[in-house]
Amino acid sequence: MLVCGFAMVPALIISYQGLSYIPQVLGSTRLIGVLGFTMAQAGISAFIAGAIGLPIAWLLAKTPLPGKRGILAISGIPFVMPPILVVLGFVAFYGRSGWLQSLFSFDGTILFTSTAVIMAHVFYNIPVFVRLVGRAWLELDRGPEAAARTLGMGPWKVFLTIDLPRLAPVIWSAAALVFLYCFTSFSLVLVLGGGPRVSTVEVEIFSLARQPGGMGLASSLALIDMLVAGCVLLVSEHLARSNPNKLGNGQFPGLLHGVPWWAYVLLGSLAIFYLGPLLSVLGLAFTHREGYLGDISLSLTSFIKAFSPSGIRAMVNSVLLASCSSFLAIVLGLQAAYLLKPGNVVGWRWLLRGIFSFPMLLSPLVLGLGFILLSQVLGLGQSWLLLILLHGVLSLPFVLGILGPAVATIPPGLVAAARTLGAPPLVVWCTVDLPLLLPRILGALAFAMALSMGEMNAVLIFAPHNVETLPLVLYRAMGSYQFSLGGVYGVLLMVFTFLAFWVTERRVAYP
């Protein structure tokens, strides 16, 4: 409860500080423009990601495409992939001196335009569509389709008249989620947008918060940010609930279509779209360039450089921060899950659930801003402890999402039986609940660690001057154009992310 207060109190302070600046925001043609652009790019990104994600989801649901499980599994990676890693990959691959343009020797500017921002958002969010819609599609009851097919209906017609109406809620709620991700994405826009001309609400909050006298205006933008997030989540929530999705087993081999030719074209180009930037990060890490101009050669120099005292400090910081904050999130998440257990505190459950999910309204950057204001009000410094708390609060809704259902399904009979036999509560918990929950706890722990490890926005805006974390040193290496060094940190982050993701995916299929 106390810690969730730490999500609500910053939100309150932000609202309090920001409310009086709202007229100033509305009076600035530039900020209105920024708000408009933020909405527009989020809408366009969500549309494109959907337009590409939907056919893939269809392929997964309706064809015997090889590697279906694999595709569905890796489509969960963006949930934990640090955006700064994507940025690095994009610069290395799509930049004017990047791999793509040198390989095909054309000259064009992709980076530092709104196109680059939208491309990166599409990159990030196609998998979200594939995962959310693909899963729902697989589980859709096939009865109506079987009937329609017997009556001679073609795949298009089946899609339009039978599947689409039933999938619409899932599609819209996925679109809402993607819209929200793109609306609040920060580091992608900060680097790929290229300055004040391509700016979004989050980037404005960041730059305002770093200028003398800018806190008020930053707070009012953060308030708008929270309101938009609230509206979008409300819509998405409403849609998800109205989903009349009947579970089927999805195993009607007779209903599968052959894999169409365009599947290979689509998946092939996506493979380039995805592997290009990611392999470029690897390429950066294992090459070295002398000075600004020297030749590029294969080497491990950057690895040696990355393990400098300051690099190691950043890694240790990241691991410590991730461990402490995810431990905190688990402890709190467990308590929250028990509090929310059906049959517990009946009347107040809705309020509790609201409080525990509240951090979802706040983007990491906004929460960071709230913590700055909070520490100013309390007269505290920007300390480590608050940073751990901040990350803990950020991952709490996700941890609760993983643990909640598991706690709710612990058979009450087992617990009661143990109690009757005289076991003290702690022993009961350790011998009955814990073994049942353990896989999920481990999964949630890995997920929370990965989130914290890759999280840069909150750290960037909130962290005390001398705290460096892995994503932050990656960002700084990019800033000073030490791309090889950035590549090494990128590889480290990548390894960690995949590891954590693998653990989560093995333990719990989430989200």
């Binding site: 939100a11 309150l12 609202s15 309090y16 409310l19 009086s20 600035s28 043609t29 530039r30 423009g33 652009f37 930049g95 004017r96 001196s97 500017t109 980076l111 530092f112 709104s114 290229g194 300055g195 004040p196 001309r197 391509v198 700016s199 730059s207 770093r210 003398p212 929270m226 609230g230 989540l233 409300l234 998405s236 929530e237 409403h238 998800a240 609930r241 000075g291 600004y292 101009l293 809705w350 309020l351 659930r353 609201g354 409080i355 525990f356 999910s357 509240f358 979802m360 309204l361 100013q376 009000v377 999402g401 001057h465 001398n466 700084r476 990019m478 800033g479 000073s480 154009y481 791309f483």
Partner: protein, 362 residues
């Protein structure tokens, strides 16, 4: 869990209604600020330094491995036994922002890397305490910030557009030339809110175009690749080929000659003149390590300290020490532009930056 979303949206509304009630009560947080101790101007009664390294707030490229920071600190520690801790926050514009926002409350002893264009803002903040280091007399009057020594100049240079001569065959000859079609999507600038070269360029356009400066920025738009937040990012983009023109210094070619033995990168000289940048350091009035801080300032202006700067910060030293040979490639501008004090005053500066920002629309 998802159904909870609607619930906390309702709670958000609750919060708002609470807010609406409490808003006019206000201002409590502000008035309850930290107690400000009257600083004692009498140096004789100054307390001895508290233990710990001298903490210096500065910009990124100063502390980067090829910047002056590491070598300077090594030499300083060797000479005095005192240790130094750098805090870098981006480019020089961000250094000023940090100083103004949290300077007095932090444990920063010295701020390093502010320039003559920012100086009126620094002065009016009253955060620095004047000190004239040994060798003060060897600093030419033309680059002094004030006669009191509120900030001590340690190096200087002239802003210039640097171009890649392997791409640009005909160098730009004026600010107006930069708007030419042949430079479409070639120019890399820096954000005047966070970067001192960025601010210098903004002042350059104001000096040359007067009231028409915003129109110039509109004409310039087609030439821009990006406006980076700091000089290091921008210059890195330039050398890696993302653009063939970059805002930098007349001295930048000396770097490439010295370390890469190439004359490929050149600084364009404009007849309309160039803006002079003097970089300075100052001791914070709130510092609790003033004795150590003063020794650092002495060292910064010593021959040993000054000799380090040209080949690490790629700027002219503040004192009259001999220049490295590679600096002969740096062209000297024929005219130096000096913005008026009024133009640099905090209020005017704020208005200028706001007007500039409003013009930056996608």
């Amino acid at each position: 869990m998802k159904s909870a979303v609607s619930v906390f949206f309702t709670s958000l509304f609750l919060i708002f209604s609470l807010l609406a009630c409490s808003a006019p009560g206000g201002q409590g947080a502000d008035s309850r600020g930290p107690e400000i101790l009257e600083s004692d101007p009498n140096m004789a009664q100054e307390k001895p330094d508290i233990p710990g390294p001298i903490t210096i707030l500065t910009y990124d490229s100063f502390v980067s491995e090829w910047g002056p920071g590491p070598a300077l600190v090594e030499a300083f520690t060797k000479a005095t036994g005192l240790s130094v801790n750098f805090v870098s926050v981006g480019d020089g514009g961000q250094v000023l922002n940090s100083l103004l926002m949290s300077g007095a409350k932090s444990d920063i002893d010295i701020v390093l890397g502010l320039d003559n264009i920012q100086f009126p803002q620094v002065l009016s903040s009253g955060l620095l305490q004047a000190y004239k280091p040994t060798n003060w007399d060897r600093i030419p009057q033309a680059i002094q910030f004030d006669s009191a020594g509120t900030m001590v100049p340690y190096d200087y240079g002239y802003f210039a557009i640097v171009y890649d001569s392997s791409v640009v065959t005909q160098a730009p000859k004026s600010l107006e030339d930069l708007t030419d079609k042949r430079f479409a999507k070639e120019l890399i600038l820096m954000d005047p809110r966070t970067s001192t070269p960025g601010l210098g360029f903004l002042m350059w356009t104001k000096s040359v175009y007067g009231d028409g400066w915003l129109d110039y920025w509109k004409r310039l738009e087609a030439s821009l690749v990006t406006i980076s937040s700091g000089w290091s990012e921008g210059y890195g983009l330039f050398t890696s080929g993302e653009g063939s023109l970059v805002l930098s210094y007349t001295t930048s070619p000396a770097y490439h000659l010295e370390y890469e033995s190439t004359e490929r990168y050149k600084a364009a000289i404009f007849d309309q003149g160039h803006i002079l940048q003097v970089e300075g350091a100052g001791i914070l009035a709130s510092s609790q390590r003033k004795q150590g801080a003063r020794r650092f300032m002495d060292f910064l202006l010593s021959d040993e300290g000054q000799q380090l700067l040209p080949l690490t910060n790629i700027m002219y030293p503040a004192t009259d020490i001999p220049l490295p040979g590679s600096f002969s490639i740096a062209p000297k501008p024929k005219t130096t532009l000096v913005p008026s004090r009024n133009e640099l005053s905090p209020d005017t500066m704020k208005a200028t930056l706001e007007a500039w920002l409003e013009s930056q629309v996608n």
